[in-house]
Subunit: 346 residues, 2 copies
DNA sequence: GGATAAATTGCATTCGAAGTCAAAAATGTT
DNA sequence: AACATTTTTGACTTCGAATGCAATTTATCC
């Protein structure tokens, strides 16, 4: 009772202090609302005197333009959606994307598909918020991709490309990167037997990386490669190593992991739980070039994705398409950078 | 030339396919716009027949309500801003927050202060987007905090509390956690000399953790504690260890790190670059309980923040205040959980 | 100085959905 | 069947800023 009463009073108090609108400013400055509006539009026709008068009033009243109202009439929300399957995997990417969008005066609505939330439900939300474009670092079905076209919302995939669908994407040359890693392993002349820890079977990226590795090994005449799958997580790397050894009876000379996280798990399982030396007994390579890869504990040989270039490309590709809906889809592929490490023996 | 021409054509084509509005649906269904609107408002007075008719039309036309327009009239954007100083530090937190907000039909506008972007410029953006509330996991000045009050935008701090300011916050008991860690160290009876690697001097959290450690050590009669500072990053942990040894001439029995990341750096510097054994020669403890802390490479003794409870608390506290502006500020403090590890000797 | 061109300003309308209120329809009562 | 009640429905206005257009002011030129 008392609680309700007091809160109501405060609410009323709050509602007296309504938002300052452009009309309020106009009144205060003795000009028209249009004039106020124009003062916030770069390159609009406003005299110096007018601008001064308005800006003074703006300061005095603490006016901030309402981006929601603006978005309604301009049909430009200046918001983009970033859809990530799991934030934990590549925080740097989201961080970089966000920074680059912010530079351009664009804001990021974040959507994660972590807890297996329904993709279609997420897209529903995306449409409702009238975002100007979408960056997707998650898997979407062809049907879902088609709705972007229907709704005229530009879409750029990050780090996944759909070869047979006309959709823009920025990605890393998975195959080339993986080949470079295998080169590194074969060139040392120390590795005869190989095993691969792949990502989940529905991951296109994992498939590409695996294909790159298998093909390259094949070219070297190595065809008997143990292959087990993980889920990109540390623990699954550990489990995968157990599985490999169980399958083969002994450890291979080298283990190729579809990403760094699983490589860490693999290294730790080998070193701390199975008493193998890395790289003495087993060499390990990863993929991605996350921060921890260069930590002394791991010093993992990996392929670093050029995150800066890739995010910049994704952002500019998206914004170009926001500005000109007519631009055709484009797929940009960046080469990864081989980073050597002491997780591979020479 | 050709390019411009073709793009213009496509643009026109696009603009013919305008958004489907509630009015379009109404026309198609032969009802009023209000009726359509009501069908999307839970608990509104709509007959079964009407709802059916409208929903059929909605499906046929692929209508999606415009959240921007709705927000304008309802003065509820159903968006909150999450301001993070650096996404790389706690991706789980952002991820959890996002998931919990999504559950409640609220969307997250992400703001990072990574590249030392101006806080005031960021806040300016926040105001423009009419967010219903803000979660801040970053430092704000008292003046900046005051503007939230002025603008009637609920604010909840995550993992930082301002003792002398009436503002809501969710945080972890830094002092208690640190004391638990020191208990662990002293109880083993193996540690006489201590060093502390603090966070940046402007970090309140670091100050609290450091204070907790110093006070607790003091109570045990240990007053000569070497203290150096880092920036919460891996590299700074490594550098700090060098500094400590330079200052003391030798390594201490235990190094207390203000967070896990620096503890990893410290451990690696000790083990791989200075030939000290961890924990044989030096014990190391961290704070936060990030994923990597439990990796076998580190197995770091640390205090885990109850991220789930904390994010849930932050979200519900914020939304409560969005629903009832009258609620007074509240500070909730959660206890961390001591996680032992083999980075400390017994 | 007067005519014309150019820049500036204000009026009125628009964006899309929601809420108010009164009219209309459905329901209940005797 | 006549009336009172309740439920549904639609016309109209509102939110806050942007913009086309006409009106006004200012600048330019001979």
């Amino acid at each position: 009772m008392a609680k309700t009463g007091s809160s109501t009073r405060k609410e009323n108090l709050a509602s007296t202090k309504r938002h300052v609108t452009s009309y309020d400013v106009a009144l205060h400055a003795g000009v028209s609302q249009s004039a106020v509006s124009r003062c916030f539009k770069p390159g609009a026709s406003v005299s110096k005197k007018m601008r001064e008068r308005v800006m003074t009033a703006v300061k005095e009243m603490g006016y901030t333009p309402n981006a929601i109202a603006r978005g309604l009439i301009t049909r430009r929300s200046n918001m983009v959606a970033v859809i990530v399957s799991n934030l934990n995997f590549y925080p740097e990417v989201v961080s970089e994307l966000n920074a680059r969008f912010t530079e351009r005066g664009v804001h990021v609505l974040l959507f994660t598909l972590d807890h297996e939330s329904d993709v279609s439900r997420t897209l529903e939300q995306v449409w409702q918020y009238q975002v100007d474009g979408v960056i997707a670092a998650a898997h979407l079905s062809p049907d879902e991709i088609a709705t972007f076209e229907e709704r005229n919302v530009p879409l750029v995939f990050y780090n996944r490309s759909y070869e047979d669908i006309a959709v823009s994407s920025v990605s890393c040359d998975q195959v080339g990167g993986e080949r470079a890693l295998i080169n590194r392993l074969t060139e040392s002349g120390q590795h005869e037997s190989y095993a691969i820890i792949t990502g989940p079977s529905d991951s296109v990226v994992s498939m590409q990386r695996t294909r790159g590795a298998i093909d390259r090994l094949d070219e070297s005449g190595i065809t008997d490669v143990t292959q087990v799958s993980g889920d990109y997580g540390y623990k699954s790397g550990r489990r995968a190593v157990q599985e490999i050894i169980e399958l083969r009876g002994s450890a291979p000379d080298a283990i190729i992991c579809a990403n760094d996280m699983m490589a860490f798990g693999a290294m730790d399982e080998l070193r701390f739980h199975l008493e193998y030396d890395v790289p003495g007994d087993v060499s390990v390579v990863g993929f991605d070039g996350v921060r921890a890869a260069s930590w002394s504990s791991f010093d993992l040989a990996t392929v670093a994705q050029p995150v800066e270039s890739m995010t910049e490309a994704a952002v500019s590709m998206l914004m170009d398409r926001v500005d000109d809906q007519g631009l055709p889809p484009e797929k940009r592929v960046f080469s990864g950078v081989l980073r050597d490490g002491s997780s591979v023996r020479n």
